[in-house]
């Protein structure tokens, strides 16, 4: 049963990435292929701030988050907003181009080696029924859940969050009612980058960070978003956790090398059998 605990740990990272996909998709209709790179950059940033500048965690983490907001907003302005007469193919390829650039920058700035930081909290092993959970893994799970809950509160309660949901329902109508749609688009990317960087920060002490990590993380996050239903907030969270547990189970019965193929089998299976995902609402197909 140990695979459930390890699955929930990696699943909560997938959930954060899936939320990033969903927020951008809901406000702009774009699938951001660079979402995984934000996670990589998060890990790299926290490594730089902690290990190179020697800042304490309580200063380093907020700095990294601020940087994330800035990077996300800049990302939207440089890559997305500058595309003239956008169509789906152009937007897909421009985010692919952006992901290559971010990955290349990651390699030039931080090199090709795996980097790691010390654990943020003292190492402890929790004895749970039929398995164990380390304090680091628990931190990942708690941070992810708290992030997801506060984000859902933000969308439900704050007026800015309501503007996001208005954009999701109807961009033109939202614009007429005084919502600054362009600003919301930029903020959507900023929040998605923030989610990625949070995931990067909590996961780096456990799994290290390498400049190529973004591809896999991004794809698995997308698998989670598809599994839960693209665009559905809690669907993304559930999809992430389910994918993590499935993957953990799969890795415990088959050679672990096949593990990475599993996420894609899930993508293919969901796309063919139930394209709206497990928890997705019925919605007219976006063409």
């Amino acid at each position: 049963m140990q695979f459930i605990y390890s699955g929930i740990t990696s699943g909560s990272i997938f959930a954060l990435v899936a939320l990033g996909f969903n927020i951008i998709y809901n406000t702009t209709g774009i699938i951001n292929f660079a979402q995984g790179e934000f996670v990589m950059i998060g890990g790299m940033l926290i490594y730089t701030l902690l290990s190179i500048y020697g800042l304490p965690f309580l200063i380093a983490a907020p700095l990294a988050l601020l940087a994330a907001l800035f990077i996300g907003a800049l990302f939207e302005r440089v890559f997305i907003k500058s595309v003239r007469s956008p169509n789906e193919i152009k937007l897909i390829t421009i985010t692919i181009a952006a992901s290559i650039i971010l990955r290349g920058l990651g390699m030039v700035i931080w090199g090709r080696n795996s980097l790691s930081v010390d654990a943020y909290i003292p190492y402890k092993v929790l004895e749970l029924p039929a398995g164990t959970l380390t304090s680091n893994s628990l931190l990942v799970i708690i941070v992810s859940l708290v992030t997801a809950f506060s984000l859902s509160l933000f969308f439900k309660r704050s007026s800015l969050g309501k503007a996001f949901r208005a954009c999701y329902d109807d961009k033109i109508a939202a614009g007429i009612c005084g919502v600054d749609v362009s600003k919301i688009r930029m903020l959507a990317f900023a929040i998605a980058a923030l989610l990625g960087v949070i995931a990067g920060i909590v996961t780096t002490p456990i799994s290290y960070v390498t400049y190529t990590d973004g591809i896999m993380t991004g794809l698995k996050g997308f698998a989670a978003a598809i599994l839960g239903g693209l665009g559905s907030f809690w669907g993304g969270v559930a999809g992430g956790l389910l994918l993590g547990i499935f993957e953990g189970f799969f890795a415990s019965v088959l050679p672990s090398g096949y593990k990475d193929a599993f996420a894609f089998l899930i993508i293919l299976a969901v796309l063919f059998l139930r394209p709206k995902g497990l928890f997705g609402k019925k919605k007219a197909e976006r063409l």
């Binding site: 789906e88 897909i92 692919i96 290559i100 290349g104 390699m107 050679p255 193929a261 293919l268 394209p275």
Partner: protein, 313 residues
């Protein structure tokens, strides 16, 4: 219906022949050969995305299937490599048909992710099924290659062989470009609803194009395996699919010279910039981004615009 662009084909032929006589250095010749492999693959990608609107991020998988299938079949059954390559091409087309059947009903980013997922699965299988594929280190010392009794070995004879194959495919692509089929595909790309109401079977057409391009890519992959004498999964990973996408878009989508020009520029570029190898990835990404933002027609569109301007002056 437009006429076949003979000046373009003659230009390609002249460049191919003069390259043979001008370049004696084997290293430079090998770069040209790789450029031609890339050009055929990028042209196939171009037919998918530029003509039909199918975004396939799993093209590297078909290239790999071709390479592995040809090598494995030729080695285990002792058949002629050329026959094995043809079989590999047919096998890959069959795989594309099976994969395309459910996948091509999807659109846009769903299709992109599904094909990407397919590519990743093939990549993982190449790595993990070591008892068939040799695992991460792949195959070394792939046996000699001969074509109707003529042994092909070394850069110079391979250059002639690959150049002939490349030229034949270029003629084929040019004929395709001027055929009824390419108009049909562009119609599908512009509007699926409109083309459907004209009685075009969109799904069948897309499946046909997807399978044929997969077959061509695999054929190319088989030759690549025998040329390089060594294959491993790294050559067929996600990055290669993205490189093909970059070549096709930078060269110009929906045109025959597009895939060739894009492949030529992006294959040659890293060689001129060997000193800043680390920046290659950023450069690739910037090329792609700049093309999408500023040059919707790619380099081909730019060249056409300059030529037209000169003609009108």
């Amino acid at each position: 219906m437009r006429k076949i662009n003979y000046p373009f084909l003659i230009l390609v032929l002249i460049i191919l022949i003069s390259t043979k006589f001008l370049i004696k250095n084997e290293y430079y010749l090998s770069i040209v050969i790789f450029g031609m492999f890339n050009a055929i693959n990028a042209s196939c990608f171009n037919i998918l995305l530029g003509y039909t609107g199918i975004i396939s991020l799993g093209q590297a998988a078909f290239y790999g299937i071709g390479a592995y299938f040809a090598v494995i079949v030729a080695a285990s059954f002792g058949i002629n490599p050329m026959l094995a390559i043809v079989l590999a091409s047919l096998f890959s087309a069959l795989v594309a048909f099976i994969i395309g059947y459910p996948t091509l009903k999807l659109h846009g980013h769903y299709l992109a992710m599904a094909t990407l997922g397919f590519g990743m699965i093939i990549y993982v299988l190449m790595n993990e099924m070591a008892f068939i594929t040799g695992g991460p280190s792949g195959f070394l010392d792939i046996s000699k290659f001969s074509f109707f009794g003529v042994s092909i070995y070394g850069e110079h004879s391979f250059y002639i062989f690959v150049a002939i194959v490349f030229f034949l495919f270029t003629v084929l692509f040019e004929m395709f470009d001027k055929s009824y089929l390419s108009y049909k595909l562009k119609f599908i790309k512009e509007s699926e609803f409109a083309s459907k109401s004209f009685g075009i079977n969109i799904f069948k057409t897309k499946l046909l194009v997807f399978s044929i391009t997969a077959g061509i890519t695999a054929f190319n992959g088989g030759i690549y395996a025998y040329y390089s004498g060594f294959i491993s999964p790294v050559s067929f990973n996600f990055n290669y699919s993205i490189e093909l996408l970059t070549m096709a878009i930078v060269g110009g989508l929906g045109t025959v010279p597009g895939g060739i020009i894009g492949a030529a520029v992006l294959t040659a570029l890293p060689e001129f910039m060997a000193s800043i190898e680390d920046y290659e990835m950023i450069l690739y990404g910037c090329f792609l981004a700049v093309t999408i933002i500023f040059l919707p027609g790619g380099l081909t569109g730019l060249i056409k615009r300059i030529l037209n301007k000169n003609a009108s002056d």
